[in-house]
């Protein structure tokens, strides 16, 4: 009975946070003389208005769900893997590299695609391991190590696009030369999304759910996240667990980056990570690090992203409004959680 009561109270505070977030964005819209109802309607229409828009939402959902799965592992170990953006980028770079290697060879394209995706996962894991080594052996806080590595990954990416891998004749921000269609992950009919990507994300979601909820490894990670010293005293090899959590997160980020190349852009572009890594961190915070909520909330965030595209076209507003809405949702729900704890603590 008591549990049910506290749960409904929790929901009440969450709804409160939701209302505050929408209230805040409404005020922002009124500030720029825009009709809030029209803006919200446009975002909704832009996300689910027709089947190709829904397909676009699914395209964004795949990397979002994958990176959120990844950062859940590092969060569980008590780590702030801000380097996730760079890990996505490295995944995309490795994937592109492998495909380029086999471009004019008779090797079966199916094999090349599989190999390139695996290479992408390794690339993400390597970049994550760097942040891990800096943290564990260098004493460099993972937030700053990760941020630095993000910038380096971006430089590497742009360096490749404008240098070694530049388009013959014209190196440009549009990215490298697109691959021949045989190296594309097949999409569903004429839509932009691929069932293979969706399948890989679903597998990722299931793996992470069971890894964190149902295994000893997950339990030990939690212990490390709750307090390194006491976990160490319990006999848990702490630094090994921290490194492993970085590696697993890197695999997921690398997979996200790989799929951006083989299933979405079919080439390397400058903003290949698209900020999905940071969004994954936000989603993880919003769902209070519970794996069961990754799929629906990632879908919601993806819908906001795609819906926001309509804003500049129709209302001459900047599409970053979606980001403002996402950010204020996370902020206000987190604040309301604090308010709840304070109110309940006082009783």
């Amino acid at each position: 009975m008591k549990q049910a009561q506290s749960r409904s109270l929790s929901a009440l505070f969450q709804i409160g946070g939701l209302i505050l977030a929408f209230g805040f964005v409404t005020i922002i819209l009124l500030l720029v003389d825009a009709d809030p109802i029209e803006a919200f309607r446009l975002i909704w229409q832009g996300a689910v208005g027709n089947s190709s828009r829904i397909a676009s939402v699914l395209v964004v959902w795949v990397p979002l769900a994958l990176v959120t799965c990844g950062v859940l592992v590092t969060f569980t170990a008590g780590l702030w893997n801000i380097g996730i953006e760079g890990q996505i980028t490295l995944g995309a770079i490795f994937t592109t590299g492998v495909i380029r290697l086999f471009l004019d060879t008779p090797v079966s394209p199916v094999f090349v695609i599989i190999l390139s995706i695996l290479a992408g996962m390794v690339g993400g894991a390597i970049w994550a391991a760097l942040a891990g080594v800096l943290k564990v052996f260098g004493g460099v806080n993972e937030i700053f190590g990760g941020l630095g590595l993000n910038f380096i990954a971006t430089a590497l990416n742009i360096g490749l696009i404008f240098g070694a891998w530049s388009r013959p004749g014209v190196a440009s921000m549009s990215g490298t030369e697109p691959f021949p269609e045989i190296y594309w992950l097949p999409t569903f009919q004429n839509f932009r999304f691929s069932w293979y990507s969706i399948l890989l994300s679903v597998i990722g979601l299931v793996v992470i759910y069971f890894l964190l909820q149902g295994t000893h490894f997950g339990l030990r990670l939690k212990a490390v996240g709750k307090g390194i010293k006491s976990a160490f005293r319990l006999g848990i090899p702490t630094w090994q667990h921290m490194m492993l959590s970085f590696l697993i997160c890197g695999l997921f980020a690398g997979l996200a980056g790989a799929l951006q190349v083989v299933a979405v852009y079919h080439r390397l572009i400058p903003a290949i990570s698209s900020g999905y890594g940071f969004m994954g961190l936000m989603i993880a915070m919003l769902i209070n690090y519970q794996a069961i909520w990754v799929a629906p909330i990632a879908l919601f965030f993806a819908a906001l992203n795609i819906g926001g595209i309509q804003l500049p076209i129709v209302m001459k507003l900047d599409s970053t409004l979606s980001g403002v809405l996402q950010g204020s949702l996370v902020l206000f729900i987190l604040l309301m959680q604090g308010v709840k704890q304070r109110v309940l603590g006082k009783q």
Partner: protein, 332 residues
């Protein structure tokens, strides 16, 4: 390169280092009180946009800076409220704010993109400007640049030489002990977080009204500055003088990158632009090495003479955070 060009370049280093000094000193004050304000990156972008907007509308540079400082204070109040009063994770709230403020700046700044605004010109100081070398480098700056130089010494003096400064160190190191001695820990943390945030908020308009005039949306080129300022705070060991040195060093390296770019054209400009970041990681590695366990073990295997020498070197580089940084204060 002639002497005059070098002096001009160095004056530019002081000018472009000024906003980083403001931001890093503001963060230092906040962190000295025990609160990490991770919202810096977004806060600088939002205050840059707001300051520019207000300056256009009112045609007053002063009001532009005031608006920037207000934005900084306001955002930092959210950080303070959620971490000090609601005891939520400082890192989480700061991260959310840094992303949200950035998006908010790009959204609200859309209508003023590319508009002409007032620019703060330099105000050479009579007599001092005549001093050879020092004059042209340090005393032909904008008023805000002078303020940032003055702030370095003010912050240093305040923290290490005054009673309230000692109290500030206390609430960051041993809040419980400071509380017993009569310090209002929570109120002081609020005060320094908001004051620090206001200083960070001055950095934004300093870009859009002086160092990189104008607001150009996502290509204004301010994304990343806040993270650099946060790293410099650590590099500087939470000591205003060392922090300022780090800020100017960063500005110097950026200038060096620009100079090299014109001679080494085979390196893509994007690569040189991010060159400071690996350096940032390296410096963080250097200042943290002394805190790691394996370094201690490694040192133990060295012969005495070398060991003492290495230990001295590491100790001089090492920086240790305020002991209570990032933790909420509970009254027992």
């Amino acid at each position: 390169m002639s002497g005059d060009v070098i002096l001009l370049g160095l004056a530019g280093v002081i000018a472009s280092g000024a906003p980083i000094v403001l931001a890093a000193i503001g963060e230092t004050l906040s962190e000295r009180a025990g609160v990490i304000n991770l919202s810096l990156n977004g806060l600088i972008i939002l205050s840059a946009m707001t300051g520019f907007w207000v300056a256009i509308e009112t045609d007053s540079i002063f009001l532009g800076f005031l608006a920037g400082a207000l934005v900084g204070a306001l955002v930092s109040t959210i950080v303070a409220f959620s971490s000090i009063t609601l005891k939520q994770s400082q890192v989480a709230v700061g991260f959310i704010l840094t992303i949200t403020c950035r998006d908010l700046a790009y959204f609200l700044g859309n209508p003023i993109m590319g508009r002409q605004g007032p620019i703060m010109f330099s105000t050479p100081i009579p007599l001092l400007r005549e001093i050879p070398i020092v004059g042209p480098v340090f005393f032909q700056q904008s008023l805000m640049s002078y303020f940032s130089m003055f702030l370095i010494f003010l912050a240093w003096f305040w923290i290490s030489k005054t009673r309230p400064g000692l109290m500030l160190q206390g609430i960051g190191e041993k809040p419980a002990a400071a509380f017993v001695r009569g310090a209002n820990v929570l109120r002081m943390r609020y005060f320094y977080t908001i004051l620090g945030g206001a200083l960070v908020g001055l950095a934004g308009p300093l870009y859009t009204l002086s160092v990189k005039p104008g607001w150009k949306g996502t290509i204004t080129g301010l994304d990343g500055i806040g993270w650099i300022a946060l790293a410099i705070t650590i590099f500087g060991g939470w000591n205003p003088i060392r922090v300022a040195f780090g800020a100017y060093l960063f500005a110097f390296l950026q200038w060096l990158g620009l100079v090299l770019q014109s001679t080494w054209t085979f390196i893509p400009s994007q690569v040189l632009q991010v060159a400071p970041f690996p350096l940032m990681i390296l410096t963080l590695l250097l200042v943290n090495l002394g805190n790691t366990e394996w370094m201690e073990r490694l040192l133990a295997t060295l012969p005495d003479g070398i060991r003492n020498w290495v230990r001295k070197l590491i100790r001089s580089l090492r920086s240790q955070p305020p002991a209570a940084l990032g933790t909420p204060f509970e009254r027992q």
